[in-house]
Amino acid sequence: MKLLVTGSTGFLGQAVVRDALRLGHTVRAAVRPATDVDRVWPDRDPRLDIVRIDLRRKQGLAEACRGVDAVIHLAAVKMGDFYDQMLGTVVATENLLAAMDEAGCKRMVLCSTFSVYDYMRPRSGRVVDESFPLEPDPDARDEYAKTKLLQENMVRAHAEKHGLSLTVVRPGVIYGPDNLLNGWTGQQLGATRWARVGANAQIPLTYVDHCANAHVLAATTDAAVGQTYNVVDGDPPKQKRYIKLLQRRLTPRPRVIPINWTLARTVARCGWLFNRMCLGGKAKVPSILVPCRLHARAKPYRYSNAKLRDELGWEMRYPLEQAVDRSLAIERGEAVADDAEYTARPGEAPAVAAPVTEAATA
């Protein structure tokens, strides 16, 4: 198949391009005008075709979509104010959809996010799967969650109205080289200190190569049309396990300041009530004091990848420890073979990936 990948030079995008080529597909990578392509792909595969476009403007988009079998739409903006994100995520997608219509391209895989879910209302311990409720009050969440919800709703409405074959892929927390820390591991306080809220919540981690593979499978499997898939690796670690694993490997060893989950949510609740009752709800406070944002990062849920495995035959290639070691090796500039033999450290997980789904074990 010929796949157009937007956001192709990003963290996930590069992995998607790599995986699509590995599986024998032809890739057209959408690259923004000023990007140094030779730095991203120094030895370019002949099956990789580059098209220079910026989704925030319409010029050249229809031409880029012409002749491709499916679009894997990863491009989104995570930084900047609401309007930067609105333009780079929602308006960009709007332009892409119009261009696909014009070019007669009818297949899209949209990379959404776990951020669209409602973490505030469902009780702790529930399994987060594709039927989990969506955030009903996006304005209370951050700009990213807000714009990704707008994007997903817009694409779904467009698919229904214009007959677009759509698959929505919602990755959990994507990790890999240069991206081992995230909101779930805690707030970074200086170079080697983290404030970690909670300890026993699972982190819905997915290694970047696994997540990329889910996108390629979604684009190339007929059964995926009209479906939504959550992407989370098997056996997601609890916060304390993941952080301990990182502490063992990082130098200097990071120091973690644990903050009790019950205490954190009580403080956030009090802050929210004070804001609402005394300040008319207008005060802007750090995310850790906004209940719905705190819950989205640290509430103890469990996660399922059952649908992804059962319907698309998706499998993990590396267990957590091996994926972290691969990431660190890549960060150090070492060559890492895809099928390199892995020896687990004493006391850590076995070398074989065992994709456990929480739904199955619940």
Binding site: P33, A34, V90, V91, L150, L279, K282, A283
Partner: protein, 353 residues
Amino acid sequence: MKTAVIGTGVICEQHLIGLSRVGAARLVGVCDLSPAMAEYTADRFHADATYTNYRAMLEQAKPDVVHVLTPPPTHLRLVTDCLDAGAHVFVEKPAAPTHAELTQLLDASTRTGKLLVEDHNYRFNQAVQQIEQLVEEGELGTVGEVEVRMVLGIRGEGGRFADRHLRHPSHDMPAGVIHEFITHLCYLGLMFIPPGQPRTAERVSALWSNHGGGDHFRYDDLDATAIVGDTHLRIRFSCHTGPDCFTLRVRGSEGWAETDLFLPHVRVVKPRPGGRQLSPLVNQFAGGWTLLTASARSFRDKIMQRSAYEGLHELVVRLYDAIDRGAPMPVTTQDMQDTSRLVDALVAGQEAA
């Protein structure tokens, strides 16, 4: 009054927050080339309808007032069409990239009998109003020098002006990115020229630099002095120094006052009770107290999400009130012309350099 907006970017939000304080206004239309942007804005501010074609909006919604909030190169066409359709226009700064183009817009306003007002929002910030009152009451004596300084870190990675993938429209203005801000600097300087003096620059020195280099930014620094009557206007813009600030200092024959609109306070040095001996000491105490209370207020404003756009909200309220009562506009045609002429003079300094 039926109101509509064209362009739903960052500044639109502030216009509509201001509009929400005008009881008599009803938002009948929101227009943007992006349906998603138009719908989001319409939802948030309870507009009657959304449009992607402004002509269709003018024809169907028939607004009394239109806020034109698109990039400056589009103003000539949009503002003229709105005036021709019988609507008053409130246009974002700069209304036009040159004085000649502003004259065309003002001619259209005269021809149609409809008002055209350019956004001079910072004139209506409380701190600026307070300094204006000090000047009017003669507390500072006769104004002899006004310095307006804006420092913005817009060359940094990730900002919309530094984005090399999607070139910001302001890069193509006569003064490059600085043209996006220069209107503010000029109208703030001109508003303190003593009454009765012509507000035309007799001599101008404008040094334009690109300290950061490269071809993306034409300039990142302006160091200009304009002599207007007996008053020296110092206009400074920099995006290669830090931290961000937007300061205004007005010096008179008796004293001076200053503010930073990003961290509002008004520090005043003037003759105090205690005569010439004790005035410096009293001024220092007063200055310390001003900074202390201002820091508490700034902290409150930060928490409560109050921004430097308070002047824009106030201007919107005054504008609609003036339209309603048929009173003089808060920003006059003369204000717009004087500002535009000064901008032209500074830009001409760039060409001469």
